[in-house]
Symmetry: C2
Amino acid sequence: MNIPLTLTRTDVEAAQVRIHTGIRRTPVLEIHGDELGVPARVALKLELLQHTGSFKARGALNSVLTADPLPAGVAAVSGGNHGAAVAWAAAHVGIAADVFVPSLATPEKIDRVRGYGGTAHVVDGVVADAFKVGMAWAEEHGVALIHPYEQAGTICGQGTLGLELADQVPDADVVVVGCGGGGLYSGLAIALDPTVQPVEPERCANLHAALAAGRPVPVEVGGVAADSLGPAEVGRTAFEIARAAGVQVPLVSDDEILAARAWLWQRCRLLAEPGACVALAGLMTGRVDVHPGDTVVVVVSGGNNPAVP
Amino acid sequence: MNIPLTLTRTDVEAAQVRIHTGIRRTPVLEIHGDELGVPARVALKLELLQHTGSFKARGALNSVLTADPLPAGVAAVSGGNHGAAVAWAAAHVGIAADVFVPSLATPEKIDRVRGYGGTAHVVDGVVADAFKVGMAWAEEHGVALIHPYEQAGTICGQGTLGLELADQVPDADVVVVGCGGGGLYSGLAIALDPTVQPVEPERCANLHAALAAGRPVPVEVGGVAADSLGPAEVGRTAFEIARAAGVQVPLVSDDEILAARAWLWQRCRLLAEPGACVALAGLMTGRVDVHPGDTVVVVVSGGNNPAVP
């Protein structure tokens, strides 16, 4: 799909009007930079507290509500957070959701789709296999497939997180965010004036590779964050935005991601999923550039760990 | 110990001046009451995100800083959150902490005292045994023992949570809080104008029993919340405040506490300890009186579950 790069903050503001009564305005936790070894004020945006446990609820609800008239149902392909988010968004407005889940997804992920009222279709294989089946099904049934990142409704929905930040941390100098397909990164960059700094896992470095190649290219993905940040190819929108902004993308290792995750648990009692700890890992390793006295926002984007208590 | 019932909001404001640069201002998460089956706006005060994973850091730091001149060290007796909080508070200001821990406490709890820089003295037996040894040690060494609830510094420190709420949810009609020894309940009642509603586990109902008896009386305690809400006898301050206010204390069962805890995890990705879910259980069971259109604050007071990730 192609997103018009003419998306602006006004489009994100329209999304906010559309979805703000349905989503949660997630709070911010301020941390002394000393605790993290950085000479800055740090604000953690606790998006893991969002409906369905990740920011994906924003984009899904906005995509559902953008359709006029409201359809009888929507479809999605996902082995993770996007599937649960689309199921939740559809239930929220009272329509059906058919979610195509690869058989390699964990039973918990499949249960979550059903738990939010969606119909889970388990497809043998990986996400690409589920995508083929889901596309064909959607076409046959005349139902819109909601893309997890490369779709205007999704990007503008994720951008509403940025509008909340503009209100909650108006003096932010930089907003640090993990990047997978790039929907959240794109939405934030469109919504916010301060620098938005993407960070990637070494083993899911599709934006990093795209910037080096001059275009989105498929990369091999793996590691602890692959379930949420693991599309083989970054979205074109995120690539174009990053290229235009001239950003460098710091990379963090699996061990560094897990160290950030352990810090969040031990020092904040927040249980984030690994992909949601990539931005914090970028800060803790010193690989994200911070100037003394800066105010840094770190997005903690999701908490869908395997079942815990 | 005897606390003057002349403690006022001014004393809590003084505590806030003393400790506000050391503690975290914990955020609030707004929830649609529909999600919980109550006809109200609900704000969760996320005090589990506090330093040391519970509100106890507030009272401990205030008690440490109230001493003038600053002592060379402090002592505490605790099998749980208070011990870690005193160790943290002492380390924060650069003095020693000696914490007397009953051998029946879990290894995790003992490790947490040490992890925050305290010296853990493991005493054979239960809290009462550790108390005897700790008292004798403190007297011998001329070191002040910080009481977990029945001490002015502790109560006023916990009350700072209420001052934050007055700012964060100025239109609150009622603030619901679990009650154990009663330090947090007392501090909130002193700091806040709106109704403060204590809730207790059926199996740790020392305030409920005290109100029935006309004075604090020892009760048998047990169940899932006993590690944090399990003093046999409620503090006199909490008893006097509750009696003067004429409050009823709703009771919740272990199953109801665990259902509230499961909801917090499944719907908010918050992993609270059982004692911190008692207030929410009171709301979810309908046992806390709520009027349509009310704004209800529920304190989620701690997250020190056994080691998780």
